[in-house]
Symmetry: C2
Subunit: 592 residues, 2 copies
């Protein structure tokens, strides 16, 4: 039977310890488990080591692997084992054994939950690898030769406290990577390096897209002019696509009465994440969602069946009281700008309305080059438990059928997920895969039979009876913050021209062409391009390198020849060739 | 000496009482003071009267005026006066007299503040007009003939409690108007009628522009699709003008740490109006202004003198805890969407930067047809007290001179207001007069030497030294809510085409042209016009009347002839003629 990669990684931890013991005979060992991509070992070295020492250790590990040594198991009485490690000056192993003896486990969390007075552990297993004997539950390769030394890399070293408790002694944690082959290790290192370079927090600062301020507070991004240009480009694209499907922008405040969220159910749902507001006159909360406000615009007039569908859309911030420790860059924030939308319609309009949303999604993600890199899920009821859901049997059947039909019409191949529907209605979710192979749930089309009823919304039907409308919640890009994080990392900051905060940069070759360069700059600006001018004293080579760092799609180099001919020399980012063009041609090129 | 209009109005109250006594001998009288445009009298009629009774009373009043009766004063001991009114069954007058005897006043608020045990009032004055004797301090015409009966009008009647205390008996308040002449009365009635028709709260509902919800809360307008279309048109116009002057949109959240407002000074300045936010982790407040957040975008990078000016703009909501009783329509709200802007510059850049703002103001208000209906004030220091102001003598001189120069260059004729500057810098304010002759302060260009210092903002000057930038706060339209209220009333809902929420409405003459009308509608929509289609069963006359009520600028009537020729019949709001046009012509017409 093949040894699993996890067992090989566990084995590598033993190999690391054996290598350490060879070079540092006085080293004291803590624990050494496998990890997601390799393994680590917590070790107290006689003197703390640095990353520079890792190469030697890695070399020794590879020799041990090549020597194809066996890992030999032997059992020992627990008191004998304590004596064994104690005599070898291994206090951490002794400590682990004492826990095992007292609590029946070495795992702290298990001790908390289940602390027998007397342990039934009387015997422990030891594994011997060459000269190194380790306390271990097992789960290894039989011989070190099963590991591929080319798939091994010692990666990093950091300081940790024994058992993560800062009242304990400090050890060093040596991290290693182990893959089945050299190729897989290289692939992993490449992907990791890419992810590091693309990290939206790093690129966000480097490209000056957003910032955080201690005075404003954690989880509250401030968008600089460049970041705002991207947000606005996304927003305007959404608006112009949505306009074709007759979605109507509305505008609401960021607070609402506590009673609004008691009616909607969000006071209960968000509980601690709902941020209360201390007005002297009313009990308000910062809105955690936008739907309750939108219901109140619907409710402001009496509506007839002929008025439906009524479609609202808005990009607006909502607020949630996230824990400081859970905040992270743009992916977890307290001020969340949501591209929100709600359609109020009759049950018989669900299919055509949901299709409009699906069309908007298709257009928007096609513009981003992401349509196709996705799959869609259709969450439906658990038909064995119809009593668990809000809304009539007839409405549910119609809604699920509508989404099924839509999936077919739009070739979504939606994967049916039985029992995954919310209690208030079925939904379609779109999952997109980014350039790093990560999957993100971005769009949703959610049918809701419950909220209109909670707010007593109605319309007069053709027969004069009052009816409750169906509400469709929809998200195209979700939250701008999370979407920006994904886009920055997906494009590695190399945004498509329509999104680039600076689409073109005019670069002068020398002082003599400054006036003409300024003229070119103004003409591009007047054509509504996002453009910058660099007419400083540096060499044009330096200017090009700066523009490349800033990831500007087009560099427009202005020399004396360009000035003479009234042209510009266009250089596309990442390319060496330049092309001479008329200014009008440049404008068309940038606008595509 | 001419009797003042106020005294004439006071006299008219006596005349009203005399007329009432004639028709209702058992009426009991409260108080009857003059008001801003006339007078009122609080009266308990034997049976409550309606507005229908006012004509008869007004007629009798006019007769009394024409009879030119004298108002005769007589003094009476206070106990005798109580006896006098008591015997005539005037309990309200008795109550007033008893207050006068006990507290020395009949004014409730004066009693609260200053309640002597013993009053020194021993004698009161009575005025006799024909058969009617009234308790009164005086201030009258000598004879009723001094009033112009043509300037008189009884206006309304409403229920009130004696002395405004709902534990007291209910009286009726009869309101009258009195002007010096028939002409002035007519003018007043016309202006009042205009203001009523234009009231933004009335028109806002009638045109479906915004709404309030009890569940969302008072002072928190919700903008419907039509209202949002106007707001967006204003915003987009501001953006496109500002872009030419290189103002850069930024985007900030709606909360900030308490510490942000302590640093800025707004925690102290707004005190009770600052709305605190109950996060479990940080002390936040809803932003009452936007400048502190914008300083933090400036502060996110090191800046050189070459980077200045740095210009931010943003339309964003800020929040203030206004008292419920002070909230009114859109003019006083809790969620205030501000068109905000801040420029960080060097002192030597103040003039050119302020000029950019003045140019934006000129373009924006020219588009609205309001430029010219304004005057500008220049608030400068009190030069006798230079120690009262923040910033160097040199900077102040430069800043005031810059604004003076700007006033000259832009022909603003700014009126210099000595001592009106804020302690942190001089400013220009623009006051506009609307169609009802009311003046509104709308734009401001405010120099600020203080805030950048409070936040420790700096830039590296040419000589390598750190310097504090100057901050210029600017508002073009101020708050969208107040601006919308002004615009709605100024235009009486007849917005210029570029602002109209619905710019054109396609109206069908009959069923047969429905398909062609839908086609016309789609073509206009695709040309980015805001357009509606009315292809219902009503007559085209009815459809035109509806569109007129909705104040739609262009009605596009589609009959069989238009269908045949591929044209539309264009009717401009308020006109009877129609004009046949090609669809492309209509698009150009609406776009201007």
């Amino acid at each position: 039977m093949d040894t699993s990669l996890r067992d090989k990684r566990h084995t590598a931890a033993h190999v690391l310890a054996a290598a350490v013991q060879k070079h540092y005979p006085d080293a004291q060992f803590g624990v050494g488990p496998p990890t997601e991509h390799g393994f680590y070992y917590d070790i107290k070295f006689p003197e703390p080591i640095s990353v520079n020492e890792l190469a030697t250790l890695e070399e020794t590990m590879k020799e041990i692997i090549k020597a194809d040594l066996p890992l030999e198991r032997s059992d020992m009485g627990i008191d004998e084992a304590i004596e064994h490690f104690s005599s070898r000056n291994q206090p951490f192993k002794v400590s682990l054994l004492e826990d095992l003896k007292t609590h029946g486990t070495t795992v702290l969390s298990e001790m908390d939950e289940n602390t027998p007075e007397e342990s039934d552990v009387s015997t422990v297993s030891l594994y011997t690898l060459g000269d190194f004997v380790d306390l271990c539950r097992g789960g290894h390769a039989e011989r070190t030769g099963e590991l591929d030394p080319q798939g091994l890399k010692l990666d990093a070293v950091s300081g940790v406290y024994f058992r993560g408790d800062e009242t304990n002694e400090q050890l060093q944690r040596v991290y290693g990577l182990l893959f089945s082959s050299k190729k897989e290790l290289k692939q992993f290192l490449h992907r990791r390096e890419e992810a590091r370079k693309r990290d939206h927090r790093v690129l966000g600062e480097q490209l000056d897209l957003f910032t955080f301020s201690d005075l404003v507070g954690p989880g509250l991004p401030l968008w600089t002019p460049k970041g705002t240009a991207i947000r606005d480009a996304l927003h305007n694209r959404l608006l112009s696509i949505s306009r074709k499907y007759r979605m109507n922008p509305v505008s609401i405040p960021h607070i609402g009465k506590q009673a609004l969220y008691e009616t909607s159910g969000h006071a209960e749902k968000f509980a601690n994440e709902l941020i209360h507001v201390q007005s002297s006159y009313d009990e308000f909360a910062l809105k955690p969602v936008n739907c309750p406000h939108h219901t109140q615009i619907y409710a402001s007039k009496s509506r007839s069946y002929r008025d439906l569908p009524i479609r609202y859309m808005e990009s607006t911030r909502q607020y949630r009281d996230e824990k400081p420790g859970e905040l992270s860059g743009l992916t977890r924030v307290r001020a969340i700008t949501v591209d929100d939308g709600h359609i109020f319609c009759r049950p018989d309009q669900i299919e055509t309305e949901a299709q409009k949303i699906a069309e908007i999604i298709r257009e928007f993600y096609t513009d981003l080059g992401l349509y196709g890199n996705h799959w869609v899920s259709l969450s439906v009821r658990d038909t064995n438990r119809p009593q668990d859901y809000i809304g009539s049997e007839e409405d549910w059947q119609l809604a699920e059928e509508s989404l099924e039909n839509l999936s077919e019409t739009m070739e979504l191949n939606a994967v049916r997920q039985e029992g995954e529907a919310a209690i208030y209605g079925p939904k379609l979710d779109y999952m997109f895969t980014d350039a790093l192979g990560r999957e993100h749930q971005l769009c949703t089309i959610q049918i809701d039979f419950a909220m209109p009823k909670r707010f007593g919304l109605s319309y007069t039907d053709a027969d004069g009876t009052p009816q409750s409308p169906v509400m469709i919640h929809r998200a195209i890009l979700g939250s701008y913050e999370r979407f920006m994080a994904i886009l920055i990392e997906h494009f590695a900051g190399n945004f498509p021209v329509w999104l680039a905060p600076v689409q073109a940069k005019v670069l002068t070759v020398n002082e003599a062409v400054k006036a003409y360069a300024a003229d070119v700059f103004t003409r591009l600006e007047e054509a509504n391009l996002r453009v910058e001018l660099d007419d400083g004293d540096e060499t044009v080579g330096k200017k090009i390198r700066t523009a490349e760092t800033e990831k500007v799609p087009y560099m427009l180099v202005i020399g004396e020849q360009e000035q003479e001919n009234g042209t510009v020399s266009v250089r596309t980012k990442g390319e060496k060739q330049t092309k001479t063009m008329e200014i009008e041609e440049v404008i068309s090129l940038v606008k595509e």
